[in-house]
Structures are given as structure tokens and as C-alpha cells.
Symmetry: none
Subunit: 215 residues, 4 copies
Amino acid sequence: MPNPQGNQPLIPPRPRPGARAAKAAARRDAILTAALDEFSAKGFASARLDDVAQRAGVAKGTIYLHFRDKEALFQELIRSTLVPLVGRLETIGEIDLPTRTLVERIVDVFVDEVFGTRRKDVIRLIIAEGPRFPQIAEFHYREVVSRAITALRGLMRRAIERGELSGDILVRFPQLVVAPVLVAIIWSGLFDRFESLDVRSLMRAHLDLLFGEPS
Amino acid sequence: MPNPQGNQPLIPPRPRPGARAAKAAARRDAILTAALDEFSAKGFASARLDDVAQRAGVAKGTIYLHFRDKEALFQELIRSTLVPLVGRLETIGEIDLPTRTLVERIVDVFVDEVFGTRRKDVIRLIIAEGPRFPQIAEFHYREVVSRAITALRGLMRRAIERGELSGDILVRFPQLVVAPVLVAIIWSGLFDRFESLDVRSLMRAHLDLLFGEPS
Amino acid sequence: MPNPQGNQPLIPPRPRPGARAAKAAARRDAILTAALDEFSAKGFASARLDDVAQRAGVAKGTIYLHFRDKEALFQELIRSTLVPLVGRLETIGEIDLPTRTLVERIVDVFVDEVFGTRRKDVIRLIIAEGPRFPQIAEFHYREVVSRAITALRGLMRRAIERGELSGDILVRFPQLVVAPVLVAIIWSGLFDRFESLDVRSLMRAHLDLLFGEPS
Amino acid sequence: MPNPQGNQPLIPPRPRPGARAAKAAARRDAILTAALDEFSAKGFASARLDDVAQRAGVAKGTIYLHFRDKEALFQELIRSTLVPLVGRLETIGEIDLPTRTLVERIVDVFVDEVFGTRRKDVIRLIIAEGPRFPQIAEFHYREVVSRAITALRGLMRRAIERGELSGDILVRFPQLVVAPVLVAIIWSGLFDRFESLDVRSLMRAHLDLLFGEPS
DNA sequence: GATGAATGAGGGTTCATTCAT
DNA sequence: TATGAATGAACCCTCATTCAT
């Protein structure tokens, strides 16, 4: 809904029409980014909207112009982050290449787009706060987890048909494919200070276990 | 109400000696149990000591007779729960049986003693709150994780020497052995409502991946 | 409700510029006044911020917008009250009039500006709570007591040079000049119910002792 | 009420009859001493009975065997300390010696028995807490202040009759005689850290003002 | 009497949310 | 639309007092 007043020359200090909406969207994004910082660092309950506002460079009240309340801000944040990645995963599954290659691409996407970004923190938040926010758990089961499971299961089934994989274990439990992802995320949040874990090597080792070491 | 059992003349009107201490210990345990309930359900920040007290059947002030403050109660709770299990894990590693058998025992211990009990919730709490409580993370790295890693690594190394395992992947990344454990715990907290996950089957499938399906 | 005064076009719909800051200052003052009431009546520890807020006509949380905590409110209150009077005392000392006249002016200032006002209560608070608030004691020694002592000592020295006073006792112990002030304050707080003490007469009698009765 | 059980040989572990009462009295005194320490240091409201008990070497409950509640302990403490001294003051007034000599004795008693002892702290407590404890103020007006005022007034009147003092100022305001006492007490509590005040010299200087310097 | 564990009312402080400007 | 001062409910913690032992 672009601002329709085509000619309002008498309000000079305001930027071009449309700029208003753009500014609003920028503010909204700034708030979401700041919120991710604070929620990651302190958890939902301990994060203070004061700090979110300050970090976003807006006033506290402004948050309420964009989000109904603290929980809505949190849910919005959590919902908007991971969904796009599932599309990537599904797309990769459709490509006609050896499964091992595809899975390696998936791993790369994960390492680069999740582990190397703030999305990692979102996953941590889902794990930590999900039990208290049933809608979040449900949303992610529906929009992320079940779709990812389905995509993986399809990929594994095709791998068997192609003779790249023996046994239906990974069809029955596609979760086993991504289990080390969770290990990596949790480890990095808790224990990296004491002993760092090379995620890419870990994932590659895992693939070697699943598909056999490449000759 | 004078003690009516006529034939206990040598025992003074008060209960057995040590009953006082016993009662104190019982109260302490009741508080810890109640605290686990509340912290699991609400998280550290949102749990109310009022509720802990009520659930434990004591007054609010009583908590402070046993724990310095809310955080001390939380840390105590977290610290006392998992350590005993590591001993079990280390002990199992010393038994002279086929590795697959030992690992199956470990899985059974995990399923029965962790997944089937409140310890599962403690692990969830560590994952969720650990980043905010560096002492907890450090304690668990030192007392649980690093010991478990070491024990597993030893077990895997021996398996290779015995020819039960080919490749040193699991020696380099023993975390891969337990990765599905985390999947199971997280899944059960978030998604069991939508799709249940049979932990025992999952773990068995995982072992089949690692050691080959038993013929 | 658009501002109906047709002929004030240049003033925006909100009150005078600075009205916001003025209101904030007024609130701060209201809190300080209320705090003096409550602290005087109950002492620091027993005064309730709830009561301070109510008396000031603000919400409890508002106090924390102006003062870091209860102690800061207390210290601020104590610090801001007496310092201005020392300036008066020092100024009087510079006037070229007979010492007895100057001291009588000082006494008048004391009776009117301290004894007749809430400042009396502040002095009582310093006496009562000072030992527990070293910063307050130090501040008042530095900003009030030592300056007053110095001013009085100068005055007494000049009186000797002028032949209005014999002996250097009051130069060595200027405290003796103001001793009855403390008697008056303490008496009025404790014993006025039983036997009232006419402060002005007391002080005049004291001056007669020091300087001889005016003939 | 001496313990009347003259013959109770069958309770051997207990000390001689009467020793019980003596021990009780000792405990009571220990509590009062400890209470003075704590009340002096923290004030009535902030002093903790826990600390009093610990300092007295008794259990918290024991305090309640000797005093109805915290306030009763406080009042008892305050009441029992100063009264004996008034007797001394009245006695000194009856001796037939030069007034200056008598007043010097009074000053010595004050310096040695009040200023050099914990009684100084009791006076401070009366000043600080008296306004909140009307019974304490009343008690001290009746039993201490008015009697001391009367005794001093008699002494001053006799001094005039004897020609040792000219003018009736000190008869009208005997408070002026003791004013420096309060200065000394308050000063020592607040400002001694910064500038010490020699009480004996101060008092002697004061007497020189009142009675003229001894030739 | 003596103990000290247990109680629970009370109060300082925080912070999500509102609303006048 | 944006602000941030103001609100007041909520919660941790303390400590005077009680009472079973």
C-alpha cells in the first residue's frame, strides 16, 4: 500500500512518498535484529525490551507499533528465520547428481548459512524456549522439520534405489542424517571455550560414516 | 500426643537420633525435586520460587535455609544429576565384551536412566540455560562431557584394535556416537506431540549404522 | 481537543517548551519532599518507598526514574539541603559590623532557616543515620562542618583583634559557639512534648555568656 | 525469687541450685551487651536478632525467653544504662565544695563513665531512635533529663548565692552547661575520622567560658 | 530452659506495557 | 508516527517470630 498522495508539495521536510513505508520496514528489521541479539544472549524471559530498543536505535514504545507484545516479537523473529532454508533443501533434493554430492552441498549450506550466521542462535532459541511456546514448536514442526524430514527421506530413498546406500535405516530415521548438526550447535554454545569443534570436519566424518569414505 | 508404643522405653520422646538431619535432607530433596519441575517447565528466569516452595510443601523462606539463592538452587540441581552416570559409562568401558554389546548396554542405560527419568529434563536445561551460566557449562564439560568423550574414545580405539570397527572416525569424533541422543531429547521436548520418535529403535538403528547390522 | 486559544499560532499544541523538563523537576522535588517526610518520621531503614511514592503522588516505579535506589534518594536528599546555608554563614562573616551583631544575625538565620523549617529534620537525620552512611558524614564534614568551623574561627579571631572578645577559647573550639544549636534540635525532637524550649531565648542567653550581656 | 528446691540430689549434671538463675542472668546480660553492639552499629531497624544471638553466644530463640520482642530488648537496653549516672550527678551536687570543682568532677565522670564507655553509644541511640520510640523519650525525660536539669539548676543557683557565678543565665538554661557534651558525642560518631576532638580539653574550655579561667 | 529450623509477611527493585505529547 | 515518562504487578530475598524437639 504505497502512499497515494501524489502531490503534497507543502510538506517539505518529509522524504519522498514511499520512503515512509521504507523507513518503517527498516525500523522493523532493526528491531528484529536487535531482538535476536538480546534474546540469544539472555533468553526470552531475561531479555529486556529496553535493551532491544536501545540496540535498534528506537524508543521503547516504537516496538509496540510493530509488534503486539514481547512474545509476538519473539515469535515473529523465530518464525521468519529458518523457513527460507527449507526451500533450499527441497530444491537441492531435486537436482540429479550423486547423493553424496547433494548431501555435501546441504552440509555446505548448513555450515555457511546456519552455522556461520545468526540462524544458529535461532535454532538454539527454539531448542531452549520451544517447550514454553507451543506455537513455535508447532510452526517449526509444520514448516521446517516435517518438510526437511520429508525431503531427506526422499533423498535417501532415491539413494537406495540408485544403489548408493544399502539398508533403509536412513529412510526410517532421516533424523540420523542431521543429528551431528545439533551436536555442533549445542557444542558451540556451551563448550567451544574449552575445546573447539571443527564443524566442517565433523560433518564430513559423519558423511563418511553414512556413505562410506570416498575412494 | 505422647508416643503410644509402650515398649520402646529407651528411646526418648523424640524420634531416632539423626531424624532431624534426615528430615532436613528430605526437605532439601523435596525442594530440589520441585525445583526441577518448575525450572523444566518454565526455564530458570520464569520459574517462581513461590511455586517451588509450594510444590515442595515448604514455606518460601525454607528454600533459603538450604540454598543461598535462586541461582545456587539451580546450579546445585544441575550439578548433582548427571555426574553419577558418567561413572557408569566409564565402568562399562572396562568390561571385556564385544564393543557392540557394551555400546548397547550404554544405550540401555541412557534410555532407562536418562530418557525415562527427569534427567532428560536436566539435559534440556543445560542446553537451554547453559549459555547464561558459564559455571554450569564449565562444570559439565569438566565432569561429564570430557570424561564421557574420553571413555567413548577409549572404547572406540579398542574396537578398532579388535577389528570390530574400521576407520578412526569415531575416535576422532566420539561425539558422533551420542549425537542421536541429543536428537531424541530435543525431539521429545518439542515434537513428540506431532510425531513420536521411538528412542530405542532410533538408537538401535544408529548402532547399526556405526557397527553394521548384526547378522 | 485542539488548543482553542485562537491567537497563539506560534506555540505548538503542546505546553510551553520545557514544560516536560519542568514537570520532571517538579516530580523529583515532590519525591524529595515526600522522602524527607518519611525518612524523618521513620528513619532510613523503616521508611517505605511505597509510602514515599504515595505521598509524592507518583507510582513506586517513578522514584527509580529519578534515583538509583533508596540509598541514593536518601543521600541526595541529605546532600542538597544544608550546603546553601554555609554560603550564608560565610557571607555574614565578611560584613563589617560588631561581632555580636553578626553572630546574632547568624542565630536568626539558624532559627528562621533551619529550626523553623524541614532542615532541622535533615540535621536530625544526619545525626541519626550518619554513622551508617560514611559518605554522608564525609560530605558534610567537607562541605558544611569544616567550612562553618573555619568561618566561625575567622569571626572569633577578628573579634579578639577588635577587643570584642577576650581569650582564645572560641578560636580553639568554635564548636562551643554552635553547641546549643544541637541541644535545641535534639531537645525539640525528643522532649518538647514535656517541656518546651524557647530556642531564640536559649541562643540569646548563650550569646550573653560568650560576649557578655549587652548593657 | 530464689530457686526454692532445696534438695534435688537426683539431678546431678546440673550445677548447684541458684547457679541456674545466675546463668540465666549472665545470659541476659550477654544478650544486652550484644544488642548494644548491634543496635549501635546498625540502628534499631537494621540490627538483626540473628547477629545479636550469635554475638551473645546463644540461640535466636533464647532472646525471646528474656525479652518479649525486639523492641522490648531495645527499650530495656536503653532504659537500664543511664539512670545510675543521674544518681551520681545528684550526689555530687550535695557536696560542699566550690562549684567549679564540682562541675569539674561532673565533667570527669562524664568523660570517664560515658564518653569512655558504651554509654556514649546509648546516648547516640536515644538521639537517633528516640523520635520513633515515645516511651523511650518519655522515660529519659522523666528519669534522666529532668532530674539532671534540676540538679544542675540547683547547683547553679547555689553558685550564684555563693558569688561564684554572676547572672542567672545558667539557672534559666542549665542545658547550656551540658551542650558541649552533645557536640562531643555527635562529633565523635561522625567526624572523628577527619578531625579528632579532644573531649577533655573541649569541656575544660567550656568551663572556663562559664566560670572564667582559673587564675 | 534452650535450640534453631521453619514460617510468611513485607519491601526494594525490575520491567512489560500504556499513553500524553 | 515516534517518543519515553509513568505505571504497577510481580518476584526475590530478609528477618522477626514461633514452636517442635
